[in-house]
Subunit: 193 residues, 2 copies
């Protein structure tokens, strides 16, 4: 049985992604969670606070995935490592409704309210990007992969996953995760030429 808190968090995640920060009204979120609006405000002082809690949780989950894989012996096999990383991220993102790009947009809407939370808000993307960049640097040094720009490679990875995730929110285009990820890793490793 889910607690009220969890129900609200889940509904908020889904609604924020579907409607954007401003578009997701507290009434709608509460309704989606099956609780009254008052309860929402009792549990999470304000709407922006509700968002903050979600983002915090997301950042933690995102780090965990990377750390887990980094510690495994997969680390030394770039192709499998990247495949598993993409897979795990995709799963997390779809299951938990963590929308990587969405976060940036929330940011924009909050900008003028003087929030200094840039760093926090962008943390998922940034975390993955930073971790991956370091990973590529290390692999280049060890001669596992050729001498490409590690930043660019990391950016390709992050952007592809974000985009795939975005697409998954549309009913029309059913995404066959496995195929899309496998093909991607294939091209990322060997190029199209």
């Amino acid at each position: 049985m889910k607690t009220t808190r969890e129900k609200i968090l889940k509904a908020a995640r889904e609604t924020f992604i579907k409607k954007g920060y401003k578009g997701a009204t507290t009434r709608k979120i509460a309704q989606e969670a099956g609780v009254s609006e008052v309860t929402l405000f009792r549990k999470f002082k304000s709407k922006s606070n509700l968002l903050r809690e979600i983002l915090n949780e997301n950042a933690i989950l995102s780090s965990q995935i990377f750390n887990k894989l980094t510690k495994s012996e997969l680390r030394d096999k770039p192709e499998e490592f990247l495949y598993r990383l993409a897979e795990e991220f995709f799963k997390l993102v779809v299951k938990k409704k963590i929308d990587l790009i969405f976060i940036i947009l929330v940011e924009k809407e909050l900008e003028e309210h003087g929030l200094e939370e840039w760093k926090l808000l962008d943390s998922i993307n940034k975390t993955l990007y930073t971790n991956l960049t370091n990973y590529f640097k290390e692999r280049i040094k060890k001669g596992n992969i050729r001498k490409i720009s590690p930043e660019t490679a990391a950016l390709i990875f992050v952007s592809y996953l974000s985009h795939l995730n975005l697409l998954s929110h549309f009913k029309e285009c059913e995404i066959q995760e496995e195929k899309y990820i496998k093909n991607f890793i294939n091209i990322l490793l060997r190029g199209i030429k």
Copy 2:
């Protein structure tokens, strides 16, 4: 000298990207354009209409780029073709403030208003994606590139460009277009391995 119409369109593009659809108030747009709010409503009946005009224009511009390049002799040299395509798109997108991803998000916010305009709204991404997919298919047939999934390759291209564009809206990260695009094409063509 810019016409009032053009001033409003420009301001609207910039504000929509900065604040999102809901976040961009008509007051703010008018202010940014240096005209009164009433003028905005006189020229473009409604806010959603203003958006529609922008998206229409974007879609046309996006097609033009692809068509121009396709007709040139570059078509037969994938690496240069893709480089130029990326470059031109990036220029257009930054100069004209055409945010590829933004468009999808607008869509979400409008969803419940019963807009049936899905297809229109997503047209820039879709246009580029479709055109590129066909391009890759053709190149594979002609033996210019190896046998990869053309859809996946197109998606990598579109998502990378979108993401790069998104990043360019943040003051912090100055994007050196040339380097980012060159490195990208390098990896896309030859892989990281």
